[in-house]
């Protein structure tokens, strides 16, 4: 046990003394997650700003503003004309909607109800213009319907429309929001897996360095058995993987308040994923002869299998054939398992399938790795 612990501790010490390893294992994944995760989170939280410019302060315009504000896909803000134009020009606002002083006049001369100031017709603008056209049509219909009544009738109808729910929601579904959160959390897990693969395959290739440097041979002629040496390296890399994941989990939790599902499920599953990644690293160390080969093969295998396995994007968006091929890479099963755990679905059958597949990959990688590594 002393020998195993000694190997673990020297590997961890060497790892923490190497700035390159620290950058690859912690800084890079944290940075990538922060950038891409931040984009994803912000895209969920920030809404395009639309300025409203009032040419006249009438009751009708007040009701139309309320009507516009019903669309919560946009952030509506009242501005003066000059400020609104500046905001649009500087692209701080998606567009500015100008409400005329006399709506009735516009309807009568059959001119558009709203004047819109826009800089760039983006996808968001297309969504906005559709909504504005709908609202304008509603306003025109309301105006025409109240022509024969008193002036007060028009704003009253508009107020009635604004307060009407339109659709009765019998059961509130929050599935969509939860799904988005899960996708964002999976993005973090994906980056963690990818960088763990890079980091641990790099770490495992230190066996090659040790062989060249002579420490590997020296260890082989010490009384330490092959089993003790193998366990020492295996557990050292397993610890490195867990340290990396724990640091990333904590960082992401602090930055984006991400959740990881029930830890009772997450920890054992993540442990198996890490073991599988360690096996992958050992396999690389076992099949290559030089560090250059290790770097090249690792890069190709990791990037391609991560693409295939749904690390960069949800696997559901790729064609069915690709989804079938993806079953041959461990990342697919890892991501599927993490999705089950993070979403809280915890479907036992699916989880067991993911676990079994990952276990199979782990055994295969370890077998190839330990067979390839020369204990001489």
């Amino acid at each position: 046990m002393l020998k195993i612990w000694t190997i673990i501790s020297i590997r961890l010490k060497e790892f923490f003394k190497s700035p390159g390893s620290l950058v690859l294992m912690f800084v890079m994944p944290a940075l990538f997650s922060w950038i891409f995760g931040g984009i994803a989170v912000n895209s969920e939280q920030s809404k395009p700003l639309v300025n409203i410019v009032l040419k006249g302060d009438s009751k009708v315009n007040t009701e139309i503003v309320k009507l516009l504000k019903k669309d919560d896909h946009f952030e509506w803000k009242m501005e003066s004309r000059s400020q609104a134009e500046k905001n649009v020009a500087e692209q701080d606002a998606l567009a500015a909607v100008v409400l005329p002083a006399d709506i009735g006049e516009r309807v009568r001369v059959k001119k558009p109800i709203f004047d819109v100031i826009v800089q760039r017709k983006s996808e968001d603008y297309l969504a906005l213009s559709g909504f504005l056209e709908g609202t304008a049509a509603l306003v025109v219909q309301s105006y025409q319907a109240t022509l024969q009544f008193e002036d007060e009738a028009f704003p009253q109808v508009l107020a009635a429309i604004t307060t009407s729910k339109g659709v009765t929601v019998e059961k509130q579904m929050i599935q969509k929001d939860t799904n988005n959160l899960v996708e964002i959390n999976l993005l973090f897990v994906g980056f963690a897996i990818m960088f763990m693969m890079f980091g641990l395959s790099g770490a495992a290739s230190t066996i090659l360095d040790e062989r060249i440097g002579g420490t590997w041979g020296r260890m082989m002629v010490s009384p330490a058995s092959k089993l003790q040496i193998s366990l020492g390296y295996l557990l050292a890399y397993f610890c490195m993987g867990w340290i990396q994941l724990a640091v990333l989990m904590t960082t992401m939790n602090l930055l984006f308040s991400t959740t990881w599902g029930k830890l009772l499920y997450f920890i054992p599953f993540a442990s198996l994923v890490i073991l599988c990644v360690v096996g992958f690293g050992l396999m690389i160390a076992g099949i290559v002869k030089t560090k250059q080969q290790a770097s090249a093969i690792s890069a190709v295998l990791i990037v391609s299998t991560c693409m295939l396995g749904g690390v960069y994007w949800p696997i559901d968006v790729v064609p069915e054939v690709m989804q079938k091929i993806a079953l041959a890479v461990p990342q697919t099963w890892a991501m599927a398992g993490f999705k089950e755990i993070i979403s809280g679905s915890l479907h036992t059958g699916t989880l067991m399938k993911d676990l079994a597949a990952l276990l199979g990959f782990t055994i295969l990688f370890m077998f190839v790795g330990f067979r390839g590594i020369k204990f001489e």
């Binding site: 002393l2 020998k3 000694t6 020297i10 010490k13 060497e14 003394k17 190497s18 440097g213 002579g214 420490t215 041979g217 020296r218 260890m219 082989m220 002629v221 010490s222 009384p223 330490a224 058995s225 001489e376």
Partner: protein, 314 residues
Amino acid sequence: MSMLTVQDLQKSFGKFEAVKGVSFTVEKGESFGLLGPNGAGKSTMINMITGLYPPTSGEIHMKDIDVIKSPKQAQKWIGVVPQEIALYQSMSARENLRFWGRMYDLSGNSLEKSIDQVLEIIGLTERAKDKVETFSGGMKRRVNIGAAILHKPELLIMDEPTVGIDPQSRNHILETVKRLNSEGMTIIYTSHYMEEVEYLCERIGIVDYGQLIASGTLRELRESIGDHSRIFLTIEKDHLSEEKLTKSLLGFFPEKNFELQDHQVMVFHKEPQLILSDFIQLVTQTGTKITSVNIVEPNLESVFLHLTGRKLRD
């Protein structure tokens, strides 16, 4: 009982036979040198003795332990100084020694005490906390030796431990090895530096092309080649008439114990002083101009030259 017995040791890598049926014994407390040029098979022999490579055939016993069957049992009593600097460069000397000590089951106070003793032996107590990567080549070699003697092995195997270091560090290492041997540690020392082997080893084995071509004490080896000295006569090239000189030499040395190469004549003779003046006179009479005369007493180089027909560093 001998400390080490090697019997008919053979190792092949594919079709290449690196070690061809080598046998020798090393007694307890003895220092045994394996001398041979690079690629002669010394390291392969060492790697088999230390249990790193399994031999193709043959037997290795360390005292009563069968090294081939129970390498881990034997390795407890063996200290190995590999040819490479087998240390963790980003770790300090103390951390390295602690690591290798633990690999030999040392721990706690006894480990720390051993480390302190070893640091003193290798003369690096003051630099114990410095990273190995900041050390000179000689200092690294000393830590390399320190890591092998922490567990006080009965048999210390050193594979060319002084390659590529400065004379000062080499002297320190040789003195350290001498001291360890005088304290009772059995040493196997491989090198292609004859002067080191001559200085350190009581018995010497000469290895060439995977075979042990001779072994014995330095005196025994010298006697095996007739204890002949060598006279080197350097002659001016412009005045050299090879044909005339060879004819005269053959008349003077009918047993053909001379060599004429480039502008140098080398003669093997047991008592060079007796023939030196006649030899010089003979050469001068042929019209050849002599620029220098040198007599070399028999040493390992001449033994090796005599046995293999080539110089050790060829």
